[in-house]
Structure formats: C-alpha cells, structure tokens
C-alpha cells in the first residue's frame, strides 16, 4: 500500500474543502490585507514615523502581515480537525490501515500549503505598492522569504495540530490560539520595531518564535545595514528547530474521535 497515496488523498481533500468554503478562504486573507491597507496608510500618513528603515509604515508592516496571515490560516485550517471529528469522517480515516500520524500528515500538509499560499499572496498584493529592496538580490531574497514562510507555517501548523488534539471544542481552540498568538504578534516586530523597546519586552521578543519570522522576512525583502534584530542565521536556525520540534509534536498524538464534553 502506497505510503504517499493516503496523505496525498487527504491533502487534496482538505485543499478542496477550503476552496469550497469560500468564507474561510476570503476571511483569513482579508483581515491581514485590511491591516496592511488601513493601518499601514493610516500610520504612515497620520503619524509620519521617522525611524522606519523600510520607508513607510505600509512597507514596514508587510513582514508582520505575512506572519499574521499565516497565524490566521493555521487557526482556520485547524478547524477542519473539529469538523472531521464531528462529522465522523475522522473515524473512517483512523479505521484505514495507516497509523494516525500518516492521517495527520496529509491534513497538516494541506494546512501548511494553504498558509504558504495565503502568506505569499500578501507579498504579491503588496509588491506594487511597496518598494522592496531585496538586499541579497531578488531571487535569493524571494527564496529566503519563501523559506521563512514555509518554516513559519510548518511550525504554526504543528502548534495548531498539537493544540487541536488536546482541546475538546473548536471555540476553546480558537480562544487559546488567539490568546496565545495575538500577544506574540504584538511584540514580534510585526507592528513596531523591537530594538527600541524596553528591556523586558526585548527579552520577551527574544523568546517569541514569531519575532524570528518577522526578522527573517524583513531582512529578505529590505535593505538593513544592521543585519536585523537577530540576524538571518539565527532566524533560520531557531525557526527550523522549532518547526521540526513542534510539527513532530503535532503528529504525535491521535486525534479524538468524539467530543467527551470535558
């Protein structure tokens, strides 16, 4: 029995489900773009921040909004675990001859793929309006940005999966994801630079996985004479280690087959 057919079939099925659920597709895309357009222009025009290396606040926000799109996407994608559990189809998946991690692999790869596409759409939509500088050159910069987006989405997908297998209700899951990831977005450098923050916030920023993604994306897309807050090597090393560890954690636990009311 092919080890590729089963995850591949589940991958395609989840992609098809997202494409059919237009409200999920559009809403997870729209919110980050609204931030980019309205918050970016509002702050650029209204406050004229002078310290931004990217030029305008819209340009500065791009990296953070890419990360935000990935956060939204992973949250929405994980709703499919609850849908599959409640519709009963997860029981059918787990009655197939494959171990649970193969089933989860197919589903999570779909989540990763959707997250990557949505994050890259933000880049593409922003490109005509923002002056990317690509300090390492266009192609290497794009490759580095894509790699950062991939690692970020693998990590977020693993985190969402690990939480979904432990939290009974979708409402509880969304609450935990929002309470956990939104504060992380705030001091990740997504909305304001972290190198001028008070020391205690800088410490939190260093412990924040999203900071490394924002830093890597900014370094990939813009010129930054200081080498960023952490530096590319550290950014990618931390993201790669976390992506592997968290994704493995997400695949480790068998999903629940029914709501136990706990």
């Amino acid at each position: 029995m092919s080890a590729v057919t089963a995850p591949g079939a589940l991958f395609l099925r989840d992609i098809r489900a997202v494409l059919r659920s237009r409200s999920q597709l559009y809403s997870s895309m729209l919110m980050p773009l609204l931030f980019l357009v309205f918050l970016g222009n509002g702050v650029s025009e209204g406050l004229s921040p002078s310290k931004l290396s990217a030029g305008s606040f819209t340009a500065y926000l791009v990296a953070g909004v890419v990360v935000m799109a990935s956060v939204f996407s992973s949250t929405f994608s994980s709703a499919s675990y609850y849908r599959d559990r409640d519709s009963g189809i997860m029981r059918m998946f787990l009655s197939s001859p494959h171990p649970p991690r193969v089933i989860l692999l197919g589903k999570s790869l779909a989540g990763v793929f959707i997250g990557i596409v949505q994050a890259m759409v933000v880049f593409v939509v922003a490109a005509p309006f923002v002056d990317f500088e690509w300090q390492y050159g266009l192609v290497p910069g794009l490759v580095m940005a894509a790699a950062a987006v991939v690692l970020l989405n693998v990590m977020l997908s693993g985190l969402a999966q690990a939480l979904a297998s432990r939290i009974q209700t979708m409402q509880g899951f969304h609450l935990v994801m929002n309470l956990g990831l939104f504060p992380l977005l705030f001091f990740s450098g997504a909305f304001f630079p972290i190198d001028n923050l008070p020391v205690w916030l800088q410490v939190l920023a260093r412990l924040n996985p999203l900071s490394y993604a924002v830093d890597a994306l900014e370094l990939s897309a813009y010129a930054n004479g200081t080498g960023g807050f952490f530096g590319l090597w550290l950014d990618f090393a931390v993201m790669a280690a976390l992506a592997v560890a968290v994704y493995a954690l997400g695949l480790a636990r068998t999903p629940k087959l029914s709501y136990s009311g706990a």
Partner: protein
C-alpha cells in the same frame, strides 16, 4: 483470498476493557467462523461497539487474548476489515463519488480498480445517479447505504456492521439487507452488532447475546429459541405485585415471568388456558393480553434479562 472453510476468523478469550470507571468488556469470549453472518445482540452499553472497535484495531483489550485472522489486531490488518460504524463517517460537504474515492485511496485502491469498484457499489446500493451530489443532500437511508458501499470498497474479508440500519425506515432497511445479503452472504464474514432482534433473527446464522461486557449465550437463532416455552404472553398489567407474579410463575406450564413497569411477559406452554386465570387473579388490573409464538427476542429476554426495546402493545 477469502476464507473458504469454516475456520475461525475472530477469536476472543476473556478480553476486558474499561473506560474510567465504566467496564465495557469483562471476560468477553467469542469465536466467529469464517463466511458466517454473525449477530452480536445486547442492550446499549453492553460492550458491542467496544468489541467492534477492537476488531477494527482502533482499541485493544487490557486483558485476555484477541485474534483476527490469527493475529493480534494491528493497523495493517485493517486492510482486510471493513467497518460500518454506528454513526455516519461522511463529510457532508464532499460529494458521494469523492467520498468513495477518498476511502478507496486510504485503503490502497487506485486507478481503474478504484473507479470500477466505486461504480459497481454505487450501482448495487442504488446511488449511481447521486455520485455527483453532495453527501448533505442524501436521505438518512441513502447515507447508510453509502456507508455500506464505503465499507465494502476494498473487498474486506471481515465486514463489521455496528447497528448499520439505525434511523433507516423499514423499506430502506429491507432494501439494504437484500442488497447486502444477495451480494455478500458467504463471500465474507459479517459481524452484525445490533439491538434489533427481529433483524438479527432474519439475517444471522449465529448470534451471541451480550450482557454487561460478557457473552452469555451463543448459538443459531433456532437453537436459542429451543428450550423456551412455546408461547409468550405480553400482558399490560397495572400495578402487578411481586406476590401476584410469583403466584403466576408457580402455575403448571409457566416459564419465566418478568416485568418492567406495567408490562409483564410470561413464557408459557399453553397461553390460551392461562388467560382466564390472569383476569381472575387481578380483576381490572389486566388491561390487555397478546399471545405470540416465542421469538429470538424471548430467548434474548431470558438470557439478557432486559429488553432491547420497549414492548409493543398489539391488542387491548
């Protein structure tokens, strides 16, 4: 290859399983011969679904020995097992054909084999013209038929049916069994877990009664009915006292007497001779009496001691 002789496909010996404080199986022992249609009958919570889940290698006993095709249930064994669960296992947003395609790929079918097999089964279960429709547009009966087609897709040697006709109207139920038995009887081993005793009496060659996680009797429906009194009186009897029931039980030719609420069931050799005595012993309190030949339900009642469904009043 499907087993052709009457070798044992499933063998359980003293298996046990608990969930928290609830004991689902406790010393459960059973052998299921190859190629048979085997019924597992018991009230809700008696352990039928737990046993099915174990045969599908989705759970394991904490004690005792369980083998399927001579080996302990493991994920790879699921390729030889098809399961219709008590609940539907379909995504309502998927189309009927897609549901089978996905299930087929999970069970290792691809290409023409998958296409042909899906087409045949959709045809057999009367869903060929619904292949392009969303599952959410199917009726309850159609969804159960789709479950059956899905479970048979990979041509399993052992088919596990956990209350497959729950929520299906009588016409659909008859059509479903007719299709299934016409195609499948003898071709594979079928285990039917149900609390519909009439259904089991009609379709099963062998049945086992399960009570509180343990098999209490096994045999063909005929052998289980043998030894029962010839007839059963179903009596609506208001406020029957233990003393009255003991008196009835002491009458010659009377077998087991049981009651739940105002319904009293009396196994008896000659029901007609007993009826006048009943009205005499409880004037005004006996409101209706129905005489029926003994059925599998009565054998079940005798062994399990509790009805799978509320008694139906036939005459008053």
């Amino acid at each position: 290859m499907h087993p052709s002789s009457r070798e044992t496909v499933v063998s359980a010996e003293g298996i046990a399983r608990s969930y928290g404080g609830f004991t689902a199986l406790d010393g459960f022992s059973l052998d299921i011969p190859a190629g048979s249609v085997f019924g597992l009958l018991g009230p809700n919570g008696s352990g039928k679904s737990t046993f099915i889940t174990m045969l599908a290698a989705m759970d394991a006993p904490v004690r005792g020995s369980l083998t399927v095709f001579g080996a302990s249930p493991a994920p790879a064994l699921r390729a030889r097992v098809g399961t219709v669960f008590q609940e539907n296992t379909q995504d309502p947003l998927m189309r009927v054909g897609e549901t089978l395609t996905l299930a087929g790929k999970l069970f290792g079918l691809t290409g023409n084999t998958l296409r042909d097999r899906s087409r045949q089964l959709l045809q057999a279960f009367g869903l060929a013209d619904r292949a392009g429709n969303a599952v959410s547009t199917l009726s309850g009966g159609m969804r159960r038929r789709l479950e059956m087609a899905r479970a048979l897709l990979h041509d399993p040697e052992l088919l596990l049916l956990d209350e497959p006709t729950t929520g299906v109207d009588p016409d659909e139920r008859r059509a479903l069994w007719s299709t299934l038995l016409e195609r499948e009887r003898g071709a594979r081993t079928i285990l039917l877990a149900t609390n519909d005793l009439a259904e089991a009496d009609t379709v099963c060659e062998t049945v086992a009664f399960v009570r509180q996680g343990r098999v209490v009797a096994t045999g063909t429906p005929e052998s289980l009915k043998r030894g029962l009194k010839r007839e059963v009186l179903h009596v609506t009897w208001l406020d029957a006292t233990d003393r009255q029931l003991e008196e009835v039980q002491a009458w010659p030719g009377t077998g087991q007497v049981t009651h739940e609420g105002d319904f009293v069931h009396i196994a008896v050799d000659d029901a007609a001779s007993l009826v006048p005595r009943l009205f005499a012993i409880a004037p005004g309190a006996v409101r209706s009496v129905t005489i029926q030949p003994s059925t599998l339900e009565d054998a079940y009642f005798q062994h399990v001691g509790r009805r799978a469904s509320a008694p139906v009043e036939v005459a008053s």
